[in-house]
Symmetry: C2
Subunit: 331 residues, 2 copies
C-alpha cells in the first residue's frame, strides 16, 4: 500500500481512489533495512522459509505513525491488544510499489479446502447459486454459529464456510483441529449441495469493527453477495462495544461495499423457546439460556467433560476433547 | 380497475402505467345492472349491510373474458378452484372509475389490530425500524411458521405479523380463533419490541404465484422492506408447483417491486438436527422430520389430542383444541 492509500485507509477507510478499504496492508522494514534499497530497484520477496515468492518494484519508502494507526484502526493504543502489539513489533518504515508474484503460495495442509477467489466464484456459478453468504470464523462452529449460518442460508442460495487459517492468537484453536470440526459438522448436519468449505489464509488482526468491514470486502472478492457479521465480530477482550461491528457499516452508503451485511445478535439455546434463538428473537430471561464462555468450555474439556449438546454437536465436542487433552494444548 | 389496467394486469402483471400489479381488482355487475347507469353518473357504493360507503364516478363499463382471467391469473380454468369459482360467480360486466370513500371501513372485531398502511409505517418509524419483514398468513402460526418468521427477523429490524382476515375458504380457521392463537404465541415466545400484529382485511384468492406478488406489493404499501414467501404461497390443492411462487419473482427486475422477497422452503422439526430446519438446511431423511398435514392435525384435534410440541406450541394447540370441539366447527 502506497502512502496516499495508507493515509486515506487509516483516516477514512478508503483507498486514495475512494474505494472502501478499512485496514492497511503494508510491508514494514527497519530503518536500517530501509536505507539500502533505492527507489526503482526490484526487491526479492521471500516467505518465512526463505523461498523466493516474487518481487516488489520499490516506488516509495515512508515513515508512519503507529499511534495514529492504532487509535484509528484498533480504536486503542493499549499494547495489550494483539493487533496493536503486532503493529508495534513492525519496522519503522513502509515500502511500497507494484508486486509481481512468481507463484501463488501453496497450502498442502489445507487441501482440498484452499480455493482462490476465482475458484470459489466458479464453484458458486457451477452450482447455480445467485446469492451466497460468507461466514468468517477463527473458532470451531458451535450450535450458536450453526444457527446463524443456517438462518442466513434460509434466505440465500448457498453458504461459504470460510475459516481464517492464518496467524491467530496463541490461545485460539489451531486451524487443523478446526478443520476436522468443520468436516464432521458438515458431514452430519449440513446439506452438501448448499455449503462450500474453504480456508482464508490471512492473519487475524482483532480490529473489531474495522475488521468486520475488511472481512466483508474480502468475501465479496471471493464471490459472496452476503456476509454474516456477528456481535463483537473480530473483537478481542473488551475493546469494542457489542454492536460496534454492526454500526460501522452505516459509514458506507448501501451498495457501496457490494456485499450485504447480515447482522446477528448473540445466539444460544433457550429452554423455553425449545430451540436456538438470539437476543433479538427470544423474549426469555438469561436463566433459560444455555450459554457458555470460551473459558468455561476450555475448563470442561480439560476435565474431560463434554459441553452440553445444546451448546455443541457431540461430534465436534469429541474432537475438541481429544485436542484439549494432548500435549500440544496450552492455555 | 379500468379496462386498460385490467387487460394489462391479466396479461402482463402490470398496470397500464407499467407498475407491477398481479391480480385484477374489479367491480362486477350483471348485464341487467350494467344497462341502467350512464357514463358520468355517480353510483352509490354500499357494503354487505347496505350501508353507504362511498361513490363511484362511472367512466367505463366493459365485458371481460373470465376464462382468460382464470387461466392467466389462476393458471387453471377448473371451477373446483376457489378463486376460479368466485370469478365465475361474478357478474358479466365490470364498472370502473374514480372511487370516493366516505369513511374507511371499521373492524371493531379486530381492535386493536387493525392498522392502516399509514399507521404501520408510522409504527415502524416510531420504533426506529429501518427494515421490516411482512408475514402473510391465513392460518394459525405453528412452529414451522415461527421458525421462518424468526429466521427472517434475525436479519431485519422488525416483523409485521399480518394475518389476512377477509374472506377465506370455509375450512380455513376463523380469524377470531387465529387472532387468539397469535396473541398467546406473541405473549409467550416473541420479543414485544420486535413484532407488530395487525390484520389485513382482504379476501384470499388462492391464486398462488400471482397472489405471492400481490401480497408482497400490499405489504410494501404497509411499509415492509422484506416479505416472506413460503413454499406454495397462497396455493390451494395441487394447482401450483412447490416453488412456482418463488420463481414468479424472476419476472421482475430486482428493485422493481420495491420489496425484497425472502424465499423459504418447507419447514419442520428434525430429530437429528434437534431443532427446526427446512429442506434447504437439513440433510436428514423424511423419517427424522416431524411434519403433519393440516388434515392430520384436524383429526387429532377432533380426537381431543394435542399435536406434538415440535409441531405446535402448547398454548396455540390448546386454543385450536377448544375451537375444534365447539358447535361451530365444520370440515
Amino acid at each position: 500500500m502506497a502512502r496516499a492509500d495508507y493515509e486515506q485507509v487509516v483516516g477514512e477507510m478508503r483507498l486514495a481512489s475512494g474505494l472502501p478499504w478499512s485496514i492497511p496492508v503494508t510491508l514494514s522494514v527497519s530503518e536500517v533495512e530501509a536505507a539500502q534499497p533505492r527507489i526503482g530497484e526490484e526487491l526479492a520477496m521471500v516467505d518465512e522459509h526463505g523461498e523466493l515468492r516474487g518481487f516488489l518494484e520499490l516506488q516509495e519508502k515512508f515513515p508512519y505513525d503507529k499511534r495514529r494507526e492504532a487509535s484509528e484502526v484498533y480504536r486503542t493504543t493499549d499494547e495489550a491488544h494483539p493487533g496493536v502489539r503486532a503493529l508495534h513489533a513492525q519496522g519503522e518504515v513502509l515500502l511500497a510499489g507494484p508486486v509481481r508474484l512468481l507463484e501463488p503460495p501453496q497450502y498442502p495442509a489445507y487441501d482440498p479446502y484452499h480455493l482462490t477467489p476465482e475458484q470459489t466464484r466458479q464453484a458458486f456459478q457451477d452450482r447455480g447459486w445467485r446469492t451466497v453468504v460468507g461466514f468468517q470464523t477463527r473458532n470451531p462452529v458451535h450450535r450458536a454459529h450453526e444457527y446463524i449460518q443456517k438462518c442466513a442460508l434460509e434466505v440465500v442460495d448457498g453458504l461459504l464456510l470460510h475459516p481464517l487459517v492464518g496467524e491467530t492468537k496463541e490461545d485460539d484453536i489451531p486451524a487443523e483441529t478446526r478443520l476436522r470440526c468443520y468436516e464432521v459438522l458438515l458431514d452430519g448436519y449440513y446439506p452438501k449441495d448448499r455449503v462450500i468449505l474453504s480456508v482464508l489464509p490471512a492473519a487475524m488482526r482483532y480490529a473489531g469493527p474495522r475488521e468486520a468491514i475488511f472481512h466483508a470486502i474480502i468475501r465479496k472478492n471471493y464471490g459472496c453477495t452476503h456476509f454474516i457479521v456477528g456481535r463483537d465480530h473480530a473483537g478481542v477482550g473488551n475493546y469494542y462495544g457489542t454492536f460496534d461491528a454492526h454500526r460501522i457499516f452505516q459509514h458506507f452508503v448501501p451498495d457501496e461495499l457490494g456485499v450485504s451485511p447480515l447482522f446477528f445478535d448473540h445466539a444460544f439455546y433457550c429452554r423455553r423457546c425449545q430451540g436456538m434463538a438470539t437476543t433479538k428473537t427470544c423474549p426469555h430471561g438469561q436463566e433459560e439460556r444455555v450459554s457458555l464462555s470460551g473459558t468455561r468450555v476450555r475448563e470442561m474439556l480439560q476435565r474431560i467433560e463434554l459441553p452440553p449438546p445444546e451448546y455443541s454437536r457431540r461430534e465436534v465436542a469429541e474432537i475438541l476433547l481429544q485436542w484439549a487433552n494432548t500435549d500440544q494444548y496450552r492455555i
